[in-house]
Structure formats: C-alpha cells, structure tokens
Symmetry: C2
Subunit: 546 residues, 2 copies
C-alpha cells in the first residue's frame, strides 16, 4: 500500500492550498506599523526550482527495505522526499521556503503493520540507515528533521499506513488506536461510539496520535480532558532491539513507569505503533465564553483559585496585556473591539486589561453546574463577563495560527511561538523574564518584536505560558535572528528552573537545554536506555538526546 | 546524630508493644471454626535467642563509612541489625518470628543530609558493599530484604535522619519534604499550614515519604487525592553515579518523564532523599458512610458509573460477598451485623450482598455537593444506604490490619494480602480467576482458605482488587504453603494481563512476574538505566529487577 488517504500538507507551509487563509487588510496595516515592515512580499520558491541531492540509498539497503515493505512501500521520488524534508518549525519554514532542501531524506517508507515497522527497523539497523518516524509532520521544534547522524543515509518512516481504530472498550472508556491515525479521523470514528479523546492541539487537523504521544503533547482542552501523557494507558513501540508492548492498565506499582519512558521519547527509542487511550463520553454541549480581567496578575490569581478549588474550566486561556491589545486591534471594527468598546471597559475600570477565554464541555447538567461554580468564583476574583461572542471567535479560529504564520512569513515577518510551565508562585516572574529576554535580544538586532503571552493550561501547582513573537525579519540573517531570540528565551526559562517545553517537545531545537532539565545523571540514564533499545543509534539522530 | 526520634516497630511484627491489639473472643471462635485451627498459640522467639552472624563489615569499609557519617552514624549492634533484618511481609514475619536472622544486615547507617547519603553511596560503591535503603520498613513484598547480592557485605541505610519539611509554597500548594519523614509527622507539620498530602496507606503510622515514592504507593483516599505518583512533582535521588535532581514542575514535554523512572524504583537506582509534593487544603470535614449492594457485580457497576461521571467518592471500597460475610460476622453482636440485622437486609432483597464504604473530604460545601451527587447516582444503581455507622467503624480500624495479622500469626493462621488492577471490562473475570487460584492452590494442600476481596481504588478505566487470604498454617512448611498460593495467584493475574501489583510494589516477592508486565525489551531498558546509575550494582540487590 503506497500512501493510504491522509491529508497531505503543502511542502512549504501549513494546510493545503484550498484552505489558505488571508490576512485581513487592517491587520496587515497594523502589523506594518507595529513592526516597521515595508510590505514587500516573498513567496516560497517553486517545487521544480528545488535542488535535491541524489538519494544515498544503496542497492543492498534499498533491496532489504523493498523486501520488508514491497516496492510500493519505498519511495524516492522528489515530492515524497520534499514533503518529508522538514517539520513546521519557524527555521524549517524559512529554510524550505527559500529552497534549501539539503536535508531531504534519501527515501520514504510506508509500512502498514507493526510487524512491517519492526522488520524495517531491523533492516535499517543492519544496513546502518537512520530512521526518522513521521506522523503528521507538524513538529515545531525540528522533531522530524531528517538527519542521518553518523549513518550513510536516512529514511523517513511515514506512519499513515497504520491508521486503524483497533478496538473500543465502551465499559472501560478506552480504545486501542494505531499510531498513524490523524486527529480528525480518530474523533470521527470515536463519535460513532459516543466517545471522544478530547485532545485538540492547535495542529489537530494534521496531527497523528503517535506523534502526540511521542512528543507528550497537550491540547487546548487538556485542562479538562488531561494531557496526552495522562490519557495513555498502554502502547506498543517497535525498537531496533525488539518491541515494548504494554497493555492498558489503569494504574500499577510494578516499578518505574515504562509508559512514561516511551511517552515523550520523540522517536529516538523506537516507533510507537499503537496506543491504548483513555476516552471520555462525547460532550452533549460545548460552552465557550469571554472574560476580562483588570490585569494579567488578577487573571492569573483567579485562574489559580479556580483550579485549586476544583473549578477549572476545561479550556482556560488568559492573554496578557500585550496579547489582549493586539487581539482586540486585529479583531478590528467588526470584531470584539467594536462590540466591547473601549468606553465600556474603561468605565468599568478594565481598560488595558486582559482577555480570557473559558470553556466547558460535557452533559448539559454537568456543564451548567461546573460553569456556574467557576463563573461565580472567577467574578468574585475580578472577572468581567463578556458573554459567548469572544468564545465563538476563539473557537472559529482555534486552529488558525499555523495558516496565519504562512501569511506572515510571506510578508517577511518572523512569527514563532514558545512555551513553558512553572509553579504559580513563579508564573509572573517567569512571564516577565522571558518577555524581557525576547525584547532585548531582538531589540539589540534592530528588530524590536511584539511579544505576547497567554496562560494556556492550568494545574493545581502551576500553569503553562505560551509566547508568540512577531518581528521584522532580518534579511539574509533570518535563522541567526531566530537563534538569538530562541537562545535568550531559553536561557531565561532554565535560569528559573522552569521547563524548557510544556507541550512542543525537545526535537532538535531544544536539545541544548535538555540537560538543564534532567541534569547530567538523569540524561545519562536516558542515554543508557536508548543504547539498550537502539544500539546502532539509527533512531531519529540528533533529536531529544542530541 | 544517631537515630533521631521516629517510631520504632517491634522487630517481630507491627506496631509497638503498647499499641498491640487483641482479637475479640467471638472472632477467634469464628476463625477457629472456619479455618479448622486448633487454637494453639505460637509466640515469636525472644530477642536474646536470636543467633546473628558476625558483621562482615571489614576495617576499611567500616572506616570509610564512619568517616562519611561519624562513628554515631554507623551501628553494628544486635538491636539495630535485627530491626533492619526484614520488612513486614508474611514470609518476613514467619522467618523473623521463628528466629531466622541469617539475613540481618552487617551494619546500619544513619545519614542526616543528602550529601551524607551521596558520600555513603560513593564509599559503598568503592568498597563493594550492598546498600538497602530503609524508610519505614513497612514493605510487604520483601523490599528491604538485606541481600548482599554478589557483594561481601550489606548495610541498611536508615533515612530517619532526613525528616525535615524543607519548604512549603502555599500559593502553589506544594512542599519539599525529606524522604525519611514519616506519614503522621508530615501531616502534623502540614496541618500547621492548613494543608494535607492526603496519602493514607494502611501502613500510614510508620510509612516514610520516600518509601511511598520509591514503591509507587496508593493510599486509602487516593481515589480522591491521587496516587503518590500523581503527587510527586520533583525529587532528588542520590545514585552511586551522582545525583538526579528534578525540581517541581507542574507539567513538561521535555522528553521521557524521569520522575516516573525514579518513582517506583524501589532503591535499586539510588536513594530518594527529597520529594516535591502536590498538596491539598486540609479538609474542613470528613464524611464516611456505608452502603450495601445486592452483589459485587452490582456494586462494581455502580462504582464504575460514579467514577466515569466524575462522581467518585474520595474513598471507595466495595467488599465482595465473602469479605462482607466475614466482616459482618467478625463485627459480632455489638457491631454492624446486629445493627443491620439480617432481616433488615433480607426484607429489602440485599441478603448475601456486599458492603461498601464511601467517604468524602473537603470543605463543607464541597463535600455536601459531591456527596449528594454521588449518593443519588449510587442509589440509582442499586445502593442501599446504611448511614454513618459503618463509615465510623471503618475509619476507627483503617490502620488495624497489620496489628491483627500479628494476632493471627500468633494463632498459626497464615494471613496475607495481595492486590492488582484491571480495566472495568475485566474486573469480574479477574476477581473470579484470582480467588479460584488461591482456593485451589491452598485447598490442594489441605488448608482451604478464606479468600476475601474488595475494590479499593477507582479509575475511569478500571479499578484495583485487594485480596485477603486466611488459612491454617502448614506446620514446618509455612513458607512453601505461602509460595504455592502466591505463585497461583500471580500466574492468574499475569495470565489476564492485569498488573502484578497496584500499590505494594515488586520488592523481592514479585520479581518473577515483572517481565510479564514489562516484556523482555522493556526490562532491558530498565536494567540499562540501572547500569548507568549504579554500575557496581550495590543498590538493593535482588529487588525489582532481580
């Protein structure tokens, strides 16, 4: 089977051509003023202009792979190689749009069973071919960068052929799902059983289940449904040294949790082929709405009280002053800004404050009850209720960020996001430190940025911070510019012992800061586990463990 | 500092002499009839009758340890060695009561700082002395068995000197606690801050925080407060190759979760010295009460609906028919049986049914709300409400099991417990399979047992089963008898891919079944991590990884 149906993204950006979004005119004008861009555009180069190095798959290696997968299962054509040449990080897109295809994989493999995956890994370990597992290809941290490492060739292992809902256990609210299944397909299948996984990262439309698990992802509703690491009850992972198969178990005290060694392993230990997931009943209703707080501090305190009193909404986002200002401005005359009116907010003492989106999903009765409790608490802690309209706006554009980024890159605007998490007692200081680091590092280069942030997930002990950075691109130095900002933000994060990533993963881009997270001894333990599972070091070279 | 104050258990059983419980006369008569015992007693041998092998600590090893800890920090006297010679498993107690002290450690170390722990491990790795971390000493699976493995000597590392509440973060509801702190001391300290950990295993009175974390324990209220693995946000673990220090983080996507590699590591990777824990506000009120179901099946279904509709009580125990019958009979004329009356239950169709204990903890308002919702659901699914009295009885005796076991051993009755967990769809079949295995294996030996079981923890996807086994001891073959029952039950558990342990841990006794849980490849990864952290293999030989 070569390429079963799964949505194919355009190679140079997000989505497909028919789903492209357009930047509204007033937004373009606003950004031009704020970022001092000149409005010139730069389109990606054409596919036929790309120069690809010849495939380095040699006769013997190619033969053994074709034996494992059939000749349809191994592709070396231009389009397959280009599509698998990069993920969707900002530096990936900068390189790809400019036609830098030096890193394309030598071939692309399309297995359709876990057994074929195992056979491929055995073959590649023998032939010393590096393997990059490829799910939805949505990594924003270089997680599918096709690096050969010390090997002579590298292949992408595309998991779209493993896309079956294997079984559903309605009594236990669990399902077994093949790793290549995409988010929307899984939700469609589960809907027939009256169930949902409830996992909706911004990349939902393209993301694969296995990719979510391998990168320890969180979705927009994870405050309610739980992070993917809380939803994985079992899994199968093919490693070069053999398969780890852990059946679904609700809980166990049988030693260290092996599931949590594979979850987040980003393809460097093996290929996740199947996952047992905890599900929820499909919600009867979804209620999203807007709140306003006088300040980020006030909103954060209110959210803290809510989650610590077991009244957290399922979706809880709190924009800081900067993100709120830009959101309102971009919404424009027809949008929230017009409806709210600055006089409305000003008269109530909320001018210059912060927008929050809160949402509940579940049965009508459950949503009514939880929403009433939460809104009572949040208003007690300063929230001004804005009604359903901001919630609808958010829901309509909840997956729009990556489309918008393509539009910004077209306009020579650097657009990136980064995220972290910390205890409540450190949230404000961390917010200030990262924002300062970004502003200073980009300001010094003459490209002062817009730095925006929101709290995106709540925990009893803390919260995540999600930053968006926009700046005029530095011509001919786009990557260096990005690196400087990335380095500054990352150093600020680890200096406060916050996590280098709350849900994007380590990939290639966060490797320099993993040791700050694990310490040298912890890192040595992870490397030892890798050595046992992947003695030839063929799995996803350069990611996670460096 | 030699031996800071921490409760010392009697060496041959549970608790201290002044806390000994007595078996009521009618209970003794009942058990004699049910188990066909002859009433003869057998007391443990006297301390002075024990024969200990001379300590194998040699001059050089002893010197280096004394240098690290001061001479007060190293003890080789009889009492110290005897107290650390075993945990509290059934085979431990059988051996110890009969005076078999061959396995006593050669010495006992009392560090009082993490730095001393690190120094001791370095010294022991050089001197090739095995180290058994010792918290509360409450393991029921042989977890503190002082095995030297391939080394020339073995020391117990008693953590009672690391018993400080290091810091509390009231905003984040977290605390940093030294590993040797005991359960009651921690709750006392936290109460001053208006906080609780909410972790109450049956061993609560003696358990250490580090021991709970190292064994991945669950407490009686963990359905509400969460298992210890859900409460650990960070930790410090001294390994022979260096320290793993992971600060508290609410969540992270930075690769595999190293915390979950150390949690449950049972001292084979290193010594946990400090833990960052997620806390709850101290409850204003506690409400425990009794319910009755027509059958275990009915009760299990009701509990399943409760947890899947987010209405699980914080404490939820459902005894099967056998445990209910014996509980009511043991409660006697003054107890629940008399108050309920068989006619009362019979008239309502509940004769021969199952007792459940449910409990809520929190603010008055929160408990009222959650209790009302849960009781409405549970009665809709068949529950008969018995009021607060059975709840009080349970709460009064919630830590009594281990005291009672000493009384039973005195009367030559084998008394052991074992536990597992599975998905809801497999709970009944697992319950039947394990009970049958126990009855058959002990019946074949001419000692037909009483096998009782309760559901002790609820999860959306499944539940735990906690079995109690009572049988007349087989004279001169007590250990073989126990081994036969253990083997039969364990084989029945792994045959159904249920977990070999839900909260007791692997220790020494479950080692033969760990590979059924992890598979050979998973086990190889854990062994590789151990090799990296403990290259000389001095840490807790024979436990967990065998």
């Amino acid at each position: 089977m070569s390429e079963p149906s799964a949505p194919e993204m355009r190679w140079w950006g997000w989505g497909s051509d028919d789903r492209a979004s357009a930047l509204p005119e007033h937004a373009e004008a606003l950004l031009r003023a704020e970022l001092q861009t000149d409005g010139r555009r730069r389109a990606p180069v054409a596919l036929e202009q790309l120069t690809l190095a010849p495939s380095r798959l040699k006769g013997a290696g190619r033969d053994v792979l074709a034996r494992a997968l059939g000749s349809d299962g191994v592709r070396e054509d231009r389009l397959a190689r280009v599509i698998h040449a990069a993920g969707k990080s900002y530096p990936d897109l900068v390189r790809v749009r400019s036609g830098q295809m030096t890193g394309a994989p030598d071939g692309v493999l399309y297995p359709s069973t876990p057994e074929q995956v195992q056979a491929v890994l055995t073959a590649c370990a023998e032939a010393r071919i590096a393997v990059v597992p490829f799910g939805g290809g949505t990594s924003v941290v270089g997680g599918v960068d096709p690096a050969a490492g010390e090997h002579s060739a590298v292949v992408a292992l595309d998991l779209r052929g493993l896309a079956v809902l294997v079984s559903v256990d309605v009594d236990s609210l669990t399902a077994v799902v093949q790793a290549g299944m995409r988010g929307p397909a899984l939700e469609r299948e589960l809907a027939r059983w009256g169930l949902t996984l409830g996992h909706f990262p911004q990349s939902f439309e393209y993301v694969s289940v296995g990719g979510c698990v391998a990168t320890r992802s969180a979705g927009q509703a994870s405050t309610g449904y739980g992070r993917i690491d809380e939803l994985v009850l079992g899994l199968r992972c093919c490693c070069p040294s053999g398969e780890i198969a852990l059946p679904a178990r609700p809980a166990s005290a049988a030693g260290p949790d092996l599931r949590q060694l594979v979850v987040g392993s980003e393809g460097v230990l093996g290929v996740i082929t199947e996952v047992s997931l905890r599900l929820h009943r499909r919600p009867e209703t979804r209620r999203y709405e807007g709140l306003f707080f006088r300040s980020f501090t006030e909103g954060a305190q209110a959210f803290r009280h809510a989650v610590q009193e077991d009244l957290a909404p399922d979706i809880a986002r709190l924009s800081d002053e900067s993100e709120t200002r830009l959101s309102l401005a971009l919404a424009g005359r027809e949008g929230l800004k017009a409806r709210l009116g600055e006089t409305y907010l000003g008269a109530r003492g909320y001018a210059g404050g912060c927008l929050a989106i809160v949402g509940w999903e579940g049965t009508e009765a459950d949503v009514d009850r939880r929403r009433a409790g939460a809104l009572a608490l949040l208003t007690r802690h300063g929230a001004l209720r804005l009604g359903a309209s901001p919630g609808h706006s958010w829901a309509e554009s909840r997956f729009a960020g990556p489309y918008l980024r393509d539009e910004l890159l077209d306009r020579r605007i650097m657009a990136d996001t980064l995220e972290t998490a910390a205890q409540w007692s450190d949230i404000e200081a961390l917010h200030a430190a990262v924002a300062s680091a970004l502003k200073e590092s980009l300001g010094e280069r003459g490209t002062p940025p817009l730095v925006m942030c929101h709290i995106s997930h709540l925990y009893e002990s803390g919260a995540s911070l999600y930053f968006t950075i926009l700046a005029r691109q530095e011509p001919e130095a786009e990557i260096e510019q990005w690196q400087a900002a990335k380095r500054a933000a990352s150093e600020a994060i680890v200096a406060r012992t916050a996590t280098i990533t709350h849900h994007h993963g380590i990939g290639r881009d966060h490797v320099p800061w993993l040791e700050a997270e694990t310490g040298p001894v912890g890192l040595a333990a992870l490397r030892a586990a890798k050595q046992a599972l992947d003695p030839a070091g063929i799995m996803n070279p350069g990611k996670l463990l460096g």
